[in-house]
Symmetry: C2
Subunit: 237 residues, 2 copies
DNA sequence: CACCTTATGTGTGGCGTCGAACATAACGGC
DNA sequence: GCCGTTATGTTCGACGCCACACATAAGGTG
């Protein structure tokens, strides 16, 4: 057997929610790997080969239109798992997941994950609870994308990312943020400039630092607080 | 035992997908009830008491903001079930479901549905497959709400409703459609007027008739075809 | 150092929807 | 028939973002 890369105490919050024996069943098959900027963890329409438990960094659940326009419909960090379609009993999805903020995660083969899940009703309970949390987040995003301004959504995104990074600094270009928010890059430039002038953040060539969390929350839409509360309810504060 | 209202051969497509013994387990507890215009089948944040298998009519999965703005993030018809949070092991959700086009459905107590589901892995498979289909629809809506014009989304909505009604005529006011699409009512008035002048639909005081399906598809965004294809893949054409 | 690549800032016209107000018209009840 | 209610049609200025173009600036590489 290969030597497992996962720690005895999991960093990933979803793994931490598993019963000890469920975690031990997965652990031999978990392999740590870096998650790199713009990397795809699975692509729309293609068979999902690996499941990822993110430890640091942030992945974006993205829906891409036929003309290439893309919009983020959900985010996944150290609270979750990339490969939810397998929990639904499917092996592919019409969405993709990209790494938006680089970090590290634990990888397991889809077949091994499916087998472990099928054998453990307690693991199913945890994974389904997370599925509901993400479902609700996507539903919130659907409304948020429609109603809220670019600046509000920028603030929301920065706050969500900070929570998942456990850090006030992380790597992120305006270009990529614009793609995720489904807007033009100059729009992000203007919004980010405003936030910087207001002393809420600073940034420089792909590196962002958050200075004033409360200020960001005031400028953010309610979706940040709603989504956070819902995750806490389902996955424990 | 009360006499069941459900037919031997189910009208609801999700019930039809169940194994015979799974359907028979539910059938004694299913009671037919009318689904009335604007009726709420469950409300955000409140305990879900009943699960509904829609036979005719259309329900909208709606996310409501604190200021009262509401947007539809998914629709449920005779292909699905209202009460998905129970499949996720939860008894409440931050979204609500309203009847947007009146019809009929079969109601079952949440506790009885949960018990039947827990006892039957084969029923779980079917319900999870539907959960994935709806998840993908919500993800599609999130991007659609952001990118596509009001007219495109009107066309999409009319086409989706037609599929679920198995009829080219149904009851629907512009006022309510505007609320679901998260736009102002005058916007729908203009869009609907354009579609009527183009000979694609007619309508009169809350009654819509679809005249030209192909024409509507041409004016619709791709999201109609994408969503339909995905449902067919997961639930069988 | 010069140079290329990448990241960010700024400007212009245009379109779509908002937000609000007002007008018309159909149906229902009495 | 009259009248209140409900449904639909139309207008207006305002604002946010699009689409596109171009300018500036900070890194990496030779």
């Amino acid at each position: 057997m290969t030597s497992p890369d996962a720690d005895t105490l999991p960093v990933n919050r979803l793994l931490a929610l598993l019963a000890a024996r469920d975690y031990e069943a997965l652990r031999p098959h978990l392999h740590r790997q870096p998650l790199e900027y713009r990397e795809s963890l699975y692509a729309a329409g293609e068979r999902i080969e690996f499941v990822f438990f993110i430890e640091t960094g942030v992945g974006s659940l993205v829906n891409t239109m036929k003309n290439g326009q893309a919009a983020e419909v959900g985010t996944i960090g150290n609270e979750g798992v990339v490969g939810l379609p397998l929990v639904f009993g499917d092996d592919r999805a019409p969405t993709s997941v990209y790494i938006q903020v680089p970090g590290e995660g634990l990888r397991i083969k889809a077949s091994l994950f499916k087998r472990a899940l099928a054998r453990s009703p307690t693991m199913q309970v945890v994974m389904l609870r997370y599925a509901h949390a993400l479902f609700n987040q996507v539903a919130q995003s659907a409304a948020c994308n429609h109603f809220h301004s670019l600046e509000q959504r920028c603030c929301r995104w920065l706050l969500m990312t900070r929570d998942r990074m456990d850090s006030d600094k992380f790597l992120l270009t305006q270009e990529f943020l614009a793609m995720m928010l489904g807007v033009q890059r100059p729009g992000v430039s203007i919004a980010a400039g405003g936030l910087q002038r207001a002393g809420l953040i600073t940034y420089k060539r792909g590196a962002v630092a958050i200075l004033d969390i409360d200020g960001l929350m005031k400028r953010s839409c309610e979706c940040y607080a709603v989504s956070k509360k819902e995750f806490d309810r389902l996955l424990g504060g």
